[in-house]
Symmetry: C2
Subunit: 584 residues, 2 copies
């Protein structure tokens, strides 16, 4: 037996107990006559003591020789610590060691195993197994495990059945790009890894499973943006005999449960906003509502003067930045430059200081008098001391730009408090989205989403006006979940495919099995999927999902630790009836 | 709202309640003046009643028109049933319907949705979503979900952390064949799908995670035997600072918990047997110990006479088949033919009846007298009334043949009671296995398994004598779990790779990351993995894992429902820098 206790377990009640501990040498302090060693494992740190009076000189020498991250097993007696450390749960005791066995030595680690490490991202990823020894990463992984377990417990208690759907499925060219898997036994054919278990969970509803969930890996071969991973984890859920209200109710319940169990936060009913309102008020379909700065549309109060920039704009819209009237000229110039960065893309920014004395000072005083600006203040709900920032131009683009500015300013003003949780349902999404480049419509959620009752006919005349039974759950400005009530009628599904540009043959080849299933008594059904990586990172009060994934990939989709992907044998290619066809 | 109650919920206490139910039409019985409809959902069946006295003729007509598997929503009043059905939890009531809404119609299903269906395997797989509506399949999936949940609860309570390891990893040519995934972003390179998270869980131990588990899909591109799936699910576990005894103890605990929670069966300490003893006594490293028929080795008592077949054999070995002395000549001939089938491969079989009167009658009476046969009886622990079956030849082959016979006879004699659970640890496996074809050794468990302490040197002189810290958990004749104490020393791991025929360069290219990790303070560690599909089917008292998988693949690795794998677009191949190279 390697240990009688863990390194996080011993307390004053253990004093005079003989114990055996195993762990890693965190730190050695040598005061000459006494040597202290901090021994670490997953559960904590216990101080070991060796001293001239009570320890043999050979053992003392051995203690001095222990390097950082050596793995040792020690036996000794728990004694009271003369100088206690109230910060450590084990801080009242130490172990007077009488035997040390070195279980494994360690080379000097390439970065320090401390909460704040000196290792850069690349080095940490290459030696991820050492990075995981650090408390922040270790605790994130434990936290993730706890969240997953709470999800499972809650949903199981609500009669949801976890069903494992297959990973080797069929490629569907529409939507994101699939990872494919060549089949050796079926020459020239490929499986695809699922982007989500969407069709399978719908078939489980047709199969009468009634309430399904699964915490499941999904795969998308996309060019990776920061904080996207080629493989990611979903909490995937589906229910039969439900309307939108039933789904919102069920998963508001799950989210409340998590907030309460994991964060101790109780939230009553989640607010709801339509997609149209979210875009109008926040310029964004996943608004962060932990703070205000709601959009004020200024067309009515800014297009009556000679200012051509506003007059020619489709939309003039502003926000009131709390307390920012005191910004210096330099700060304001920097802000203007910020919105003009290519990532944001505004042509410029008009601003007006709403001074504490009630007066206004704007960059467009030539065109607008105090009375005009007072109306701007009213529209943006500005108070004295605020700064009104105004953008204008094409409505969609301007909203997106102002949304970016709103988020940036909130960040700078410390309004995005990670310990505060503000969930929000965004509902009534458009069914279709116009691809401006191709002029084609595609499904905003996915092709299985049902239009609002009675709007099917609108698809013929005004496709972009059709609203869907689709909803997103937004938490602190991040979409953590999204779903819809599905189509369960073969005819409606065919109509949808037609409007998405499928020929009947294509629809049949790709989704024939689903449309067939709809002919054998498919119940009304709907569902939702949560992004677990994102959910966990937000609950953990952090921004990057990578810190909550044990072995993440980098932005080129590489695992730098194991060095994957890699070349494979010619023999493997031959067995798969494949040849490389390299570009260059 | 589609329903106020489920179809399994209503009892006498609900009488006079107005309810809304939704579900599938299981059956319609039309007696002219009264129509009964059985309405089914996941939770049960509720009887609906329509009759001339209390139902409008229009509604009665509608009830008559409902086809099998139509999806309907009904509203009505719960009333007491005049002829109660004690077999149905809802059998005391019925619902007098006043409104029916057809939510979806159904074509006549291709097979009956009953416990015993008229559908063959192929049809059931093509329409798996209908098959899942049947109680046996539905209940298996619910059972699987319950087992998984119990595993997670138990291990979480024991401080195990569930960590998700990556699915896109690196191909390793040794061992079974990998499924590979071409990388678009890394031209000419491939990921592999994991055959198990073996190296990752070991790295988590190096990373200090201490106790890890994961219920995880694994993948093997093998030619499929019956009841093998290209993707399968493992309960994967690893612990640090453990010896074999700690692992056996922990997972005996898990298995006991499952048997108790799931099956209500309490079992005290699991018996243990060495690999060598298992082979000697049962001819098998996964013996079914629900029944006896232990092997009796007969060399000493059968090689002293003139019977050349036995005299030239490496091993003469028999079993006593309880009560089989009464077999007819015809039955006995059939048994001899059974062992001569190519799947078993024996050259013939000698048998001796141990009659109730204490006399013996054998097929080799010419060579062996009553006294000889009494010794056979003693060696095989035969009792009067038993049949002694004896095989001979090459030791390994003969043991395998007799093991097959033992299992077959147990099956025929009804000794393999699916409601009885007999777990067993098989320990002290050989470290290496000789490949008779190539003359090379390969790892019996996997290359990361540690030899027994002090046996490392034996690798040089007598590789097949080296025993490993490896163990299997066997339940009712099936290996449900297996694992080992791992190597955690770089030097030992290098030696292992050398003996497995790796050059240092190959070892470095494939497992350099792991051997590097061993240099930074790797703790002693070990683990186990359970095959969930198999475990669930045995706990469920059934033989085929396919019935416990929602969407299984057939023996050609095809999903016949979605028709995967399938051809992919030329464009997809081009993006992946691949060309088909068909053999034709």
């Amino acid at each position: 037996m390697y240990r009688s206790h863990t390194c996080g377990e011993l307390r004053e009640s253990h004093i005079e107990t003989k114990v055996t501990l195993s762990g890693w040498v965190q730190k050695t302090r040598d005061k000459g006559f006494v040597v202290w060693v901090d021994l670490r494992d997953r559960y904590g740190i216990t101080q070991l003591v060796f001293d001239e009076d009570r320890t043999s000189s050979k053992l003392l020498e051995q203690a001095r020789s222990l390097g950082r991250e050596f793995v040792v097993q020690v036996t000794g007696e728990v004694i009271e610590r003369s100088s206690k450390n109230p910060k450590l749960p084990t801080g009242n005791i130490e172990v007077l060691v009488d035997e040390v066995i070195i279980l494994n030595e360690s080379k000097t680690p390439p970065f320090t195993i401390e909460n704040e490490t000196d290792g850069g991202e690349d080095l940490r990823m290459k030696y991820r197994y050492l990075d995981i020894r650090r408390n922040p990463v270790k605790n994130n992984l434990i936290f993730r495990s706890k969240v997953s377990m709470e999800v499972r417990k809650y949903l199981s208690d609500q009669d949801f059945i976890e069903v494992e759907t297959p990973y080797l499925i069929k490629s569907t060219p529409e939507g994101a790009r699939d990872f494919v898997v060549p089949s050796r036994m079926n020459e020239g054919q490929f499986y695809a890894l699922p982007q989500s278990p969407q069709t399978f969970k719908q078939l489980l509803m047709v199969g009468g499973m009634d309430k399904y969930f699964q915490i499941v890996k999904c795969f998308r071969d996309e060019d990776l943006r920061a904080d996207r991973q080629p493989e990611f984890t979903q909490i995937d859920c589906e229910m039969a005999f439900v309307e939108q209200e039933d789904i919102l109710d069920s998963f508001e319940g799950l989210t409340k449960h998590l907030l309460k169990e994991i964060k101790g936060v109780e939230i009553s009913a989640f607010p709801r906003i339509t997609y149209d309102d979210a875009m109008r008020i926040y310029g964004n379909d996943k608004p962060d509502i932990r703070f205000g700065m709601e959009f004020g549309e200024l067309n009515d109060v800014a297009q009556h003067k000679e200012f051509g920039v506003f007059n020619s704009a489709e939309l003039v819209v502003g926000i009131a930045v709390p307390g920012a009237a005191s910004y210096t000229r330099k700060e304001l110039d920097a802000l203007v430059n910020w919105v003009k960065r290519p990532q944001v893309g505004a042509m410029g920014m008009v601003y007006a200081k709403y001074n504490e004395d009630g007066s206004f000072k704007s960059t467009v005083d030539k065109f607008y008098d105090q009375e005009d600006l007072a109306k701007w203040a009213e529209a943006t709900q500005a108070k004295p001391g605020d700064l009104i920032c105004v953008l204008s131009g094409d409505a969609n683009k301007t909203r997106a730009q102002l949304s970016a500015l709103r988020m940036e300013l909130a960040e700078r003003l410390g309004l995005r408090n990670p310990a505060e949780f503000a969930p929000l349902w965004v509902i009534d999404f458009p069914l279709l989205e116009l691809d401006e480049e191709t002029g084609n419509y595609h499904a905003m959620h996915h092709p299985f989403t049902s239009p609002k009752p009675g709007q099917l006919e609108l698809l013929e005349t005004d496709p972009s006006a059709v609203r869907a039974n689709a909803y997103d759950l937004v938490l602190n400005g991040n979409e953590i979940g999204g779903g819809s009530i599905r189509i369960h009628d073969r005819g409606v599904q065919s109509t949808m495919f037609k409007h998405l540009g499928f020929t009947p043959e294509e629809a049949e080849a790709q989704f024939g099995f689903l449309m067939d299933a709809f002919q054998y008594g498919a119940p009304p059904h709907g569902g939702i999927a949560f992004g677990l990586d994102r959910l966990v990172s937000i609950l953990g009060g952090q921004e990057t999902i990578r810190d909550f994934i044990a072995f993440p990939k980098n932005n080129s989709g590489r695992d730098v630790m194991i060095d994957a992907p890699a070349a494979i044998d010619q023999e493997q290619l031959r067995e798969l009836s494949l040849k490389l066809d390299l570009k260059e």
